[in-house]
Subunit: 233 residues, 2 copies
């Protein structure tokens, strides 16, 4: 699909934004928020890239996907660019988020301030376990998962954070989708195979540590073969 699109040089087509770029938009925004707080007015692609370890050309390409944002000879106006990125990423408004699974990870995520700060409001808590249902965290009470549909409608829940045990993840994802939630942040180390339209982003903390271990191994052990890693105990 997407044959030869004529080079009608639309300011740009957000639908064509490379996946790799999307991952960097958050980084740009994160840094811009800092600069904005600090009262700085403009920044060049060069400086912005320097702070994030990204080339200046890359920064310009990335930002260019959303129309001409920069001002030649000046750089990017921070307030304006921040607004644009917030709108692109959807953080210019609040999202109502369901947190599902109140085990260790779930409770921690509830306490983690980073979500709220970026416009993701945890508005309802759910768990499968009758022992846990009814317990109170902050100003919220844990509901049983069977109430998901009703509360999704009532509270206008749009996203869900899945912090449930791996074997339950797929089932819960299906319920979530059926309830009308449109996106899921999944912490279970398994691939979710869900009926239809549901945006999924998965975070596997174990995998991240493995990536780190791989990196360390490669850096510290310049062995060039398939031998075991040295003891190192």
């Amino acid at each position: 699909m997407n044959k030869d699109r004529p080079k009608t040089s639309q300011p740009t087509d957000p639908l064509a934004t490379p996946k790799a770029t999307i991952g960097r938009l958050s980084l740009y925004l994160r840094h811009l928020e800092n600069l904005f707080q600090a009262g700085q007015e403009t920044i060049s692609s060069n400086k912005l890239g320097e702070a994030l370890d990204i080339s200046d050309a890359q920064v310009r390409k990335d930002l260019g996907y959303f129309g001409p944002m920069g001002h030649p000879g000046v750089g990017y106006r921070i307030a304006q660019l921040r607004e644009k990125l917030r709108s692109v990423l959807g953080t210019n408004r609040d999202w109502n988020v369901a947190l599902i699974g109140m085990g260790n990870l779930g409770r921690a995520l509830f306490g983690y301030g980073g979500f709220h700060r970026r416009g993701f409001i945890i508005s309802a808590l759910f768990d499968q376990d009758p022992q846990v249902v009814g317990s109170v965290h902050g100003n919220l009470t844990v509901h049983h998962i069977s109430e998901l549909s009703v509360l999704t409608r009532e509270l206008g829940l749009q996203l869900a954070i899945l912090a449930v045990p791996t074997p339950a993840a797929n089932d819960v994802a299906t319920r979530v989708q059926a309830a009308g939630i449109v996106g899921v942040l999944n912490f279970a180390p398994t691939r979710l195979t869900v009926p239809k339209d549901l945006s999924i982003v998965s975070v596997d903390l174990g995998s991240e540590l493995e990536r780190l271990a791989f990196d360390v191994n490669r850096r510290l052990i310049p062995s060039d073969d398939d031998t075991q890693a040295p003891p190192l105990e």
Copy 2:
């Protein structure tokens, strides 16, 4: 650097493994562990890819970087491939991990079983706050950060999980590096700029939610311009 390497077709050069491949190795291993538990003996690149939503050619390319692992007409021997990937990723042995920062996130990560299961043993806890130092979690007592060097040596700590407030992250990373720890999993939403050799993997939970919001936005709002997102409320 790395000019034109002659095509001496070494079985493969682990140093040349594409970054993208590395991210998939954990996925392969994760699925192989399941199959291994289930007692399955072999699997084809086709089946393995199907389970993970990766093309069969991609699977073969990825696995090929570590020498010929497959058996034509048979597939990959699960036990053998699992062993190889564990060795490549460094999970064929245990790692001693320091958990630094015992706030909400830190406490949760401590309770999260996924690390231990994959060979990452949390062996020491640290915090900056004197109020927190001395408190006990499981069979571990929280130490003050100033004891990092000593304990790193004593306990053979190799990796650290950073769950500290953003403003402290860089300072802590520097201490970690000075103590002799070689890799860090960073949860603070900031880029760590550390003196020298230290492997860093960062996870920004807020960014992941932003990625999700972007995805939902794009899927649900086929608007083609820079207009505000609709209310949707």
